[in-house]
């Protein structure tokens, strides 16, 4: 059984790159990404699992990095907004006014990318369900929703 205690040096795979990092078992993934690895794209919003501004992908699945321990990411692939390569979706957010202040945008983009990867042609209800995980305090929901809908494969 693998046990971590005190300060540990571990290898995290972030955006396809192996990184050695020292962490405590009590460190959340959000804090390690931002404060040890300098990846500030995942935002510290509520840090309570409500807003999803901290969303990252763990093996392609959107998770709230404020609510999981960094040590749990060992052996998994973490994708942050810095590593997202989805120009079609990112352009759609710009074209449809899918962001205002931008604080929530990285979380929305990663969540939407995961949605469209799992369901290339999601119905409106599925889009609504997935996007309702994230909060936009500028209330730019329509633009975000339209941007995601525009990337459905049925639009090809």
């Amino acid at each position: 059984m693998k046990t971590y205690s005190g300060l540990n040096e571990v290898t995290l795979s972030v955006n396809g790159k192996k990184q050695r990092v020292a962490l405590r078992p009590a460190d959340t993934l959000l804090r390690v990404l931002r404060e040890r690895l300098g990846m500030t794209g995942a935002k510290a919003g509520c840090e309570n699992g409500d807003c999803s501004a901290c969303t990252v992908l763990l093996d392609g699945i959107p998770v709230k990095s404020c609510m999981m321990l960094a040590v749990e990411a060992v052996g998994h692939e973490v994708t942050t907004i810095e590593g997202l390569n989805d120009p079609e979706l990112q352009k759609a957010f710009a074209d449809y006014g899918g962001f205002q202040c931008g604080f929530c945008t990285s979380g929305f983009l990663l969540n939407a990318h995961a949605l469209l990867s799992k369901y290339p042609n999601p119905d409106d209800e599925t889009v609504e369900e997935w996007l309702s995980s994230n909060i936009c305090r500028c209330t730019g929901y329509e633009g975000i929703r339209d941007a995601v809908r525009s990337c459905r494969r049925s639009n090809d």
């Binding site: 059984m1 693998k2 046990t3 971590y4 205690s5 005190g6 405590r24 078992p25 009590a26 460190d27 959340t28 804090r31 840090e47 309570n48 699992g49 999803s52 969303t55 699945i61 959107p62 998770v63 709230k64 404020c66 609510m67 999981m68 321990l69 040590v71 749990e72 969540n111 369900e129 997935w130 309702s132 995980s133 994230n134």
Partner: protein, 276 residues
């Protein structure tokens, strides 16, 4: 940020997990079993719990089970709710879990975490209460299947060192006609004022509730309503022992909660085709 330290142990087998618990308890480490931490991480951050060690059980194969095993339909405690919803293996459970939290939380909230957590709702247990569910409990030297009704009273009664490995229902329960009604104050993503779930078994209706009280409840001693009686009559009678227990909080006062509960139960009776 979690402002204190704990150890993190990743168990690969049931034996490793229970052994680690015993050793950590012996060394006064105040261990907790751990899934993906949606509740434990939050409570640690808020300073509401101070575990000395977390024993991660989500890599234990038995805790990841999903499927038919003999006469049982089995669900591992480390399955996340999104997996259960997406699998549609148990439609009543999928429908109930779909109402819990948001999609991204459900990607990490486990069945065991929902059932064994500190929050009073524990909505994922309703289908198991309704369908004569069982729990597979790991203890120091073995595992044992226990009828849920024998071990669940307001919460799962686990002894120190025990943990929930799986939950199961008889495989025929996967086909029971069902209905779930969930009432929240505002949007869909909120704690329930009431979640009512019902199944129809051999012409009789069973009802279980979450949110109405400080704990989930199966609404009678025999487990079913007759099909040929009105909804209001048996409900009023069966709810009576709990009448003083309806929660009053910022989301709903007790009278309003009771009204929504009655309406939800009436809707279930109607959807399951009970004569009025």
């Amino acid at each position: 940020m979690i402002p204190f330290d704990f150890d993190y142990c990743k168990a690969e087998t049931i034996e490793e997990a229970v052994k680690a618990y015993a050793e950590l308890k012996e060394s006064k480490k105040a261990p907790l079993y751990y899934g993906w931490g949606t509740e434990i991480v939050t409570l640690c951050r808020k300073g509401q719990i101070y575990p000395g060690a977390l024993i991660d059980i989500k890599s234990i194969p038995e805790c990841r089970a999903l499927g038919i095993e003999g006469k049982r339909a089995v669900f591992g405690s480390a399955l996340v709710l999104s997996e259960i919803v997406d699998s549609k293996a148990f439609p009543l459970l999928a429908r109930t879990c779909h109402g819990i939290a948001d999609r991204t939380v459900r990607n990490r909230l486990t069945l065991g975490g929902n059932v064994c957590g500190r929050l009073p709702y524990k909505e994922a247990i309703l289908p198991f209460l309704l369908c004569d569910g069982e729990a597979l409990i790991a203890e120091e030297k073995s595992t044992r299947w226990v009828p849920l009704r024998a071990i669940f009273d307001k919460r799962l009664k686990l002894a120190p060192g025990e943990f929930l490995v799986q939950m199961a229902v008889p495989k025929e329960a996967l086909e029971f006609p069902y209905s779930v009604v969930r009432k929240t104050k505002g949007g869909r993503i909120a704690y329930p004022i009431v979640t009512a779930a019902g199944v129809k078994v051999k012409g009789a209706i069973r009802i279980a509730l979450s949110g109405a009280f400080g704990y989930p409840v199966l609404l009678d001693s025999t487990g079913s309503f007759g099909e040929d009686i009105s909804a209001a009559g048996p409900f009023a009678e069966l709810i009576e022992p709990f009448a003083a227990s309806f929660i009053s909080d910022v989301w709903a006062l007790s009278d309003y909660r009771r009204l929504l509960t009655e309406l939800s139960v009436a809707q279930i009776f109607e959807e399951l085709g009970v004569r009025k």
